[in-house]
Symmetry: C2
Subunit: 350 residues, 2 copies
Amino acid sequence: MTLTSDQENLSLIAPELPEILVRRYRLLRKIYYSAPVGRRSLAAYFQVGERVLRREIDILREQRLVAVEPRGITLTEAGESLVTSIPPSLKSFLGLTVLEEKLVKLLRVKDVIVVPGNLENDPIVLWEMGRAAARILRECLKPGIVLAVSGGTSCAALADMLSEAPAPSDITVVPARGGLGEEVDYQANTIAARVAQKLKANYRLLHLPDFLSQEALKMLLREKKIKEILDLINSACILVHGIGTAEEMARRRGAAPEVMEMLREKGAVGEVFGCFYNSRGEIIEHVPSLGLYLEDLGNRVENVIVVAGGRKKAGAIVAVVGNHPRDYLVLDEGAAKKIMELYGETGVNF
Amino acid sequence: MTLTSDQENLSLIAPELPEILVRRYRLLRKIYYSAPVGRRSLAAYFQVGERVLRREIDILREQRLVAVEPRGITLTEAGESLVTSIPPSLKSFLGLTVLEEKLVKLLRVKDVIVVPGNLENDPIVLWEMGRAAARILRECLKPGIVLAVSGGTSCAALADMLSEAPAPSDITVVPARGGLGEEVDYQANTIAARVAQKLKANYRLLHLPDFLSQEALKMLLREKKIKEILDLINSACILVHGIGTAEEMARRRGAAPEVMEMLREKGAVGEVFGCFYNSRGEIIEHVPSLGLYLEDLGNRVENVIVVAGGRKKAGAIVAVVGNHPRDYLVLDEGAAKKIMELYGETGVNF
DNA sequence: AAAAACGGGTCAAAAAAAGACCCGCATGGG
DNA sequence: CCCATGCGGGTCTTTTTTTGACCCGTTTTT
């Protein structure tokens, strides 16, 4: 006996309803993020004709949710308050709330937030995930703690969406890892600095390549400055990180073909901090570097906030966050549903 | 600060939504009550073209909620379970749940059930009210008690919708009043008997005209049989009754023009058991009869279940049930919203 | 000052919905 | 037993809605 959600009930007698709701919500959200914005760019974004978008806008205008001005389309006050207040209703209606509950039990984590939409289809979903993660982060902050943030687009989204309001006193933000040769916007250092700025907190950076030989690492550890920061990182109370798919991360690190093959053989699906996980959640390989040093970081911090989205990340998410009762998991509808599919429970039907 | 319901949120971005939901639900409900039923009669009932109704049916059939057979349209199993399980979701969505809460506080009664729809537009609403009242009645039943039911269409609906299942042992059903020269189907005696039959309980009838002179009454009270039943009625633990508008009840009792005028002058709005109430809830007049005898019945029973619907009854409902903390009130959306209007709180917008 | 982008208007094409009517068939009453 | 009734389904035309395409005057930006 599975308890039926409102969504199942109401969608049955009005099958066109979820589509309408999601469409309008996405439109409203897009305007929220890129106002003032013109019809044509909106139409292009959603890949619909200009005329059909116009009709939608007309409806939203009649509801006094958007204002249409010569500069473009903007949300009214009512529209803004709606776009921030509606997600709970919408999530409940779309069955995402029950999905969250299922995932909490399935993955045995502390809490799960499922953001409507699919990251792979709509870039805004990433921002929404950032917002959700930022909200959780704010709740976890306490005076005097150390906050470690990792790199990647997901964490960058968190930094972007974090509101600019002071945090509890004496918080230090540190990168959870070194550089990875990525774009600077997505490096842990950059993100740590931006988060610290938003929180009006202190921050320390780790100017160190992520990939390093054991010898080089040992030598560097004798450097007082570096040792200091590494200790700081290891004393972190909160850890925020994304999740990579094994294949893409290996490729991005420029792994040799034989390494790729080895990873595939061992069944690597997910990656975090240079540690590769198989689908049973075991670490099967780590790059010889800080990964070694940071490997058990996740075991000591009080709160871990994991942010990841997109259907292709589903396997990696399951591998990485499974059975971690202190983890908060923020993901998108696409990944969440894919996970349920992996577990054979088709769950909500769309 | 009024808490916003899901309805307000979602209806804002999809204004056509409540209409669709209500339309489909009414259709489903109508089929439920009159299956197997044909397209044409359904179209006539809802006063729409046959073709538009057909489209609705097609949608419901695609959802596998109805089965279309040569004999007519029937609900599938899924449809039946939906039509009985959906009202909570729908009510919450339409804001009726918050309406119920407001009315409980406003009228200071034990509980309020608002049934979707308007009795004056859709006769089925009466049946739904009957179902809701029947459910409450079942909850109130205890072994050995006496149940008094009144007359009228609302109580008749309760009797109709009461499921045919045994009640706790040794329950006696009695009419709460005598006859009123109405159709036999709506007389208290008839209804009491039908309720008893459904509950598989005992019943006693009161073969006495409702309108009687004091002398005649006194004489009849010497009759042992009659006295017995009246005592039984007065020992009732549960009372079920409807509510009449003062004007209509006076007319139906064949009151003389001068009496009508007097009632109007005194501001009579509601009637129960021959007692006329003004809008402040005071009894301003009662017909010389059992009313006298039964006047304070309502003050002694443990549970009172009041069933009334239609916008025109709003005033009467407020007058009669105001400030009775042991009353359950079952009414329809029409009456409920009209009551809120009377109180100046427009509340939900349609 | 020029160029780009904005919303709004308009008109024809296309699609969807609605109305009207007929047909074969199962059912139920005579 | 048969026939009249009411059933769903099909189909046609008409009407309404939706969509696409394009232009225009104005504001904003560069």
